[in-house]
Amino acid sequence: MSDELNINKKKKNQIKTKSSTASGRGETDIDYVRPAELPEQDLYHGHSFITKWIFCQDAKVIGIQYTLTAVFTGVVGLILSWMMRMQLGFPDLFPFLTAETYYQMVTMHGMIMVVYLLTALFLGGFGNYLIPLMVGARDMVFPYANMISFWMFFVAVVVLMSSFFVPGGPTGSGWTLYPPQAILEGTPGSGYGILLMLISLSLFVIGFTMGGLNYVITILQARTRGMSLMRMPLTIWGIFTATVLALLAFPALLVSSIMMTLDKVLGTSFFMPTIIKAGEALSYDGGSPILFQHLFWFFGHPEVYIVALPAFGIVSDLISVHSRKNIFGYRMMVWAIVGIGALSFFVWAHHMYVSGMSPWFGFFFATTTLIIAVPTALKVYNWILTLWRGNIRINTVMLFCLGFILTFVNGGITGIFLGNVAVDVPLSDTYFVIAHFHMVMGIAPLMVIFGAIYHWFPLVTGRLLDEKLGKWHFWTTFLGAYSIYFPMHYLGFIGVPRRYFEMYDSPYMTSAIGMNEFISVAAFIVGAAQFIFFYNLVKSLRLGKPAGKNPWQANSLEWLTPDVPPTHGNWGEKLPVVHRWAYDYGVPGAKDDYIPQTTPPSEVRDAEVEKT
């Protein structure tokens, strides 16, 4: 991957021969990078405290702002899940947990975790921090819009949280917000709660669009010299594709929010057919509840990949760095990410097999859904093939990666169960689904987030996190979470429906009381274990081992800034020039077992790099 990007390059096979004999070529030619197409970026340097830290236009600061806000919502979501588990494991023990509050907690838990924690953290947090650094830009291309983006998100979070304090409380309609139920009495929070939720989501979408345009354009149009798309770290590919998905999928959410708001406020009948409430017909007529479901899942399914793809990308990089081996089948990985992204727009109705939509759709959507398994499977294979014949450092980061692989494969395969339309019929809307998506979305990407934080914390703060605490954190989280969700599948087999406040006395459901208690206890432990992590963060911030430059001996650009942690503008005097992909680990003939992306071929003459 160290060929020159000569503008006049002709045929592919020619390049191959050229680069494999790189050592034999003239100096100037080897290190050739073409001239800069872009002038230096204009940066806005803040001068006061406010412009430096609050309304800051530096993507790195914005990334941290996003991360902190998202983690705050995550903690709220975690506490809500604790309360849910209290009720499910030990009903009657907590009289303040009524059915109303329970459903409000389920809803807020789901929405917060999916949208306000994972989406914001991966794209807003990691995206902002890493994109400019990894592609070699000084900042995002529109720093001002980027700053607005965060504040929109912040307002969205404030609006969301404020719904806890309005009369009627937050909405309890389930995170899928299905009408008619979501806006009718009989559902908690059907007054202000649902409105605030819809407003908050709309704000989120608008704010995200501003950020998302930044991420996309920065990646497409502001890469540094030598940084071709096929040399970008997979992290960037994952975030990029996810952002594109978000830009195209969020519109459906925005539109359905607007329409539902109108149904609620103006009494239009988009989603509302004739409804009899308390013996009286409401004024609605002729609307289509299933339309909402289509719109929601046209957003919702891409959404789950929006949280999965960045995780795929990041974990690829982490695995590669910590097993000191190039990522296996980079090209295939890129195509798989893009392919999964594209396909995800054609599978949405697999959430609706038993929704009463046209039954013929089942064939189409089952087929498209299972097709997604193929590119996803390739990614899994390539992760483990990267470990194979590697030189694996079993540190906290790697542990989280391994935990990710195991839980993701497990959850993905249960996804295949559900995608196969006939199998979904008995399992849909049971705890099997809950188990599926917690495995694949609740744990797997969280594992990546934790791994990524252990990995990049030294970059952000200049200090390493404590390994010992990290290992404790990993083992409790991984084993605990696995023992929450693995048994949960079997609840679904029994037939326990999801969103049940209480199991009552159905014989086959009461047989699971013991399991529910066990799950709850495990959930408390896992939740508590996160405080080890928070303690670790706070402690290491001040007392952690100084990391120095590039503590992991990584290749990608973010570690190669002149200052660590990087300062505003990232690159000091001159933008870096990239000569190779980010995965030249263990290259035969090279002195070190890693060759940073900026190293020109002339400096590693004897390395037998292959073009990939």
Partner: protein, 111 residues
């Protein structure tokens, strides 16, 4: 982004804009005529869609300069439309299915 050297973005003769402009008027007029003459059925739909796509194509290609843009941009913009096409066609099927079951099981005033 500052010192823009605009020389390479070749400008186009004014004639082409005027042509397209005129064509758009004519096409709009035609699609208006579809309604005026009250064509029905398949003919109506093919005409409406034909004029619609033609107009949209002209605006995108010439007014928005897509015709002169490089394929990288053009393809990035057009491929996502397949998702929309899929969505539209499936929703039409769904709408038909709904109306069928409504008429079959309900009587009007119901639904």
């Amino acid at each position: 982004m500052t010192e823009a050297k605009k020389e390479q973005t070749s400008t186009h003769k004014i004639g082409i804009y005027l042509w397209i402009w005129g064509l758009l008027f004519v096409l709009s007029f035609f699609s208006y005529m579809v309604d005026w003459y009250n064509f029905q059925g398949l003919l109506r739909w093919s005409l409406i869609l034909f004029f619609m796509f033609l107009k949209a194509g002209l605006i995108m290609a010439f007014f928005m300069h897509l015709f002169w843009e490089r394929y990288a941009l053009v393809n990035v913009l057009l491929w996502p439309m397949t998702a929309i096409a899929c969505f539209v066609s499936l929703m039409m099927a769904e709408g038909k299915y709904t109306v069928f079951s409504r008429l079959f099981y309900f009587f009007v005033g119901g639904a």
